[in-house]
């Protein structure tokens, strides 16, 4: 029973990271109706930036905030410089650009920082909280960070005029222009926010999986599974999906299929969702009068 509980809780912790990255995917999807395959590598790159900042002697939370700000700016820059010229192009060109970004970011990170695996600091104490032994402080902290990000994202989309404008721009760009929304900037803003959210996911997962240019490849696959399971247009769904996939992966890995086959769990989830319920568990199937 004790091992079961421990496995369950550590599943929740990794699930929190999947959830954060899934939130970033949902964010870009909200802004552009596209799924960004380079999301994981962007998060990895942000984590390296954080690592450089920490190594330069900046205190952890200062480096954390600075990394979010830098990532936000980079996300906007990528949208404006790389994606804007092809925004009227077919979806396929976007997908190819995403894959190109993925490969380029990965190689550039390897070139600058080398492929050596490095430790990454955790901001949370090393001894478990409240004297229990089921879940480490870092795991608990990572879950808390994920939930905080979720609340912020939800409040942004639900309660701010800017969040509403972003949803409108994604849904119906022409009508959005007709009410005076600068649609291009809404897309860029979506990219900035998604990159910042991804950065927080990267910084939370790096102490667990260690820092190297390939650290996010598996995580991204789980995040896809999470976002699809929860519904790609629903931030809550994505976070639920993240925790669910994390726990499922951990329990199956521990009791059923072993560590080597764990990644297939993500693929099985993706295929199952696409076949059984393409809109995901909480995705809105839109009612429309024709």
């Amino acid at each position: 029973m004790d091992t079961f509980l421990a496995q369950f809780l550590s599943g929740l912790a990794t699930g929190g990271v999947y959830a954060s990255l899934a939130l970033a995917l949902v964010m870009i999807h909200q802004a552009t109706r596209l799924v960004n395959f380079a999301q994981g590598e962007l998060a990895m790159f942000s984590t390296y930036i954080a690592w450089s900042l920490v190594n330069a002697g900046i205190p952890y939370w200062g480096a954390f905030a600075l990394t979010l700000a830098i990532s936000f700016a980079c996300g906007i820059a990528i949208e404006r410089v790389i994606l804007r010229p092809v925004e009227r192009g077919p979806v396929l060109s976007m997908v190819v650009i995403f894959i190109g970004l993925l490969v380029i970011l990965n190689s550039v990170a390897g070139w600058i920082y080398s492929y050596t695996v490095r430790p990454f600091p955790s901001p949370f104490p090393s001894e478990p909280l409240f004297g229990q032994h089921y879940i480490s402080s870092h795991d608990l902290g990572a879950i808390a960070v994920t939930l905080a990000v979720l609340v912020l994202v939800y409040a942004f989309f639900r309660f701010t005029p800017l969040g509403l404008a972003m949803r409108a721009a994604a849904q119906n760009p022409e009508s959005a222009r007709l009410v005076g929304i600068r649609v291009g900037w809404m897309r860029a803003l979506g990219w900035g926010l998604a990159t910042a959210i991804g950065a927080s996911a990267g910084m939370m997962v790096a102490p667990i999986v260690f820092l190297d240019p390939n650290m996010m490849s598996g995580v991204l696959l789980y995040a896809f599974a999470a976002a699809l399971l929860g519904g790609i247009d629903n931030p809550f769904g994505a976070v639920f999906g993240g925790f669910f996939v994390g726990v499922l992966e951990n329990l199956l890995g521990a009791y059923l299929i072993g560590q080597e086959l764990k990644l297939t769990v993500a693929l099985v989830v993706i295929i199952a969702v696409l076949v059984v319920k393409p809109s995901g568990l909480f995705g809105r199937t839109l009612v429309r009068r024709v």
Binding site: P161, L164, A168, L178, L286, R289
Partner: protein, 237 residues
């Protein structure tokens, strides 16, 4: 009354297909102008040209300033609201969110509250439906929502593209009555595209008639109503 909008030598094209061949017209401040014509004459294109939604040539002035070549969102911000062909409703958002978006350029939640209430005053049906997904509203309700959304901008010129399209006569009558009130009370000029020529000429002060991208006749709506050619071709009596 001064001219609010003037178009001189306005051409418009979709790719290689020329739709407007140099038209001149004015819309006076606070007036109602009807734009009539058969299918494909270029009515919708004229409205799209005014909002920078299609490639144009010629000069457009709004309130004395050039707006040709400006981006759609900048033209809108100067006070031209457009209810486009097909209504342009944000179908996945609620009715009230649609209204909030209409006032997007005018600032936050608090500033918009009284305006939203004013729209509910004009269109009480929308108040009942405020939390409903806009895509589930009836055709008439969606048209009301589209007009209310456009008015949230506090425009000086309202462009309406076939507001009567697909609606029951009773609903059309209601909508035009509300439009008349808004035109009178809020000093909003209206440029109206309509298939239903008798309705439009009834409602408008001025009118012009497009034929394959050129203006065939223009003048006071009353005069056009009694013009023999217009009656034969567009009014059917």
């Amino acid at each position: 009354m001064g001219e609010l909008l003037t178009a001189r030598g306005l051409h418009a094209a979709y790719g290689a297909t020329q739709v407007l061949h140099g038209i001149d017209f004015d819309v006076a401040a606070g007036s109602v102008t009807a734009l009539l014509g058969a299918n494909g004459a270029g009515k919708t294109t004229t409205l799209r040209a005014l909002c920078g939604m299609v490639r144009t040539r010629g000069t457009l002035r709004f309130d004395g300033e050039r707006i040709d070549g400006c981006a759609t969102e900048d033209i809108v911000r100067r006070g031209i609201a457009h209810v486009p062909d097909g209504r342009g409703t944000f179908l996945d958002l609620t009715a009230e969110e649609n209204l909030r978006l209409g006032g997007y350029t005018r600032g936050g939640r608090r500033a918009l509250g009284p305006d939203i209430e004013r729209m509910y005053g004009h269109f009480p049906r929308l108040k009942e439906r405020r939390a409903q997904q806009a895509g589930t509203l009836s055709g008439g309700e969606q048209q009301m929502l589209a007009i209310a959304r456009a008015l949230m901008l506090r425009p000086r010129l309202l462009l309406l593209d076939e507001p009567s399209f697909g609606l029951a006569p009773k609903v059309v009558a209601d909508i035009f009555q509300i439009l008349a009130t808004i035109n009178r009370e809020e000093d909003v000029a209206i440029l109206l595209v309509e298939q239903n020529a008798s309705l439009a000429l009834e409602f408008a002060d001025h009118a012009f008639l497009l034929e394959t991208g050129r203006i065939a006749i223009q003048g006071e709506a009353r005069a056009l109503r009694s013009d023999a050619a217009v009656r034969r071709s567009y009014l059917g009596y």
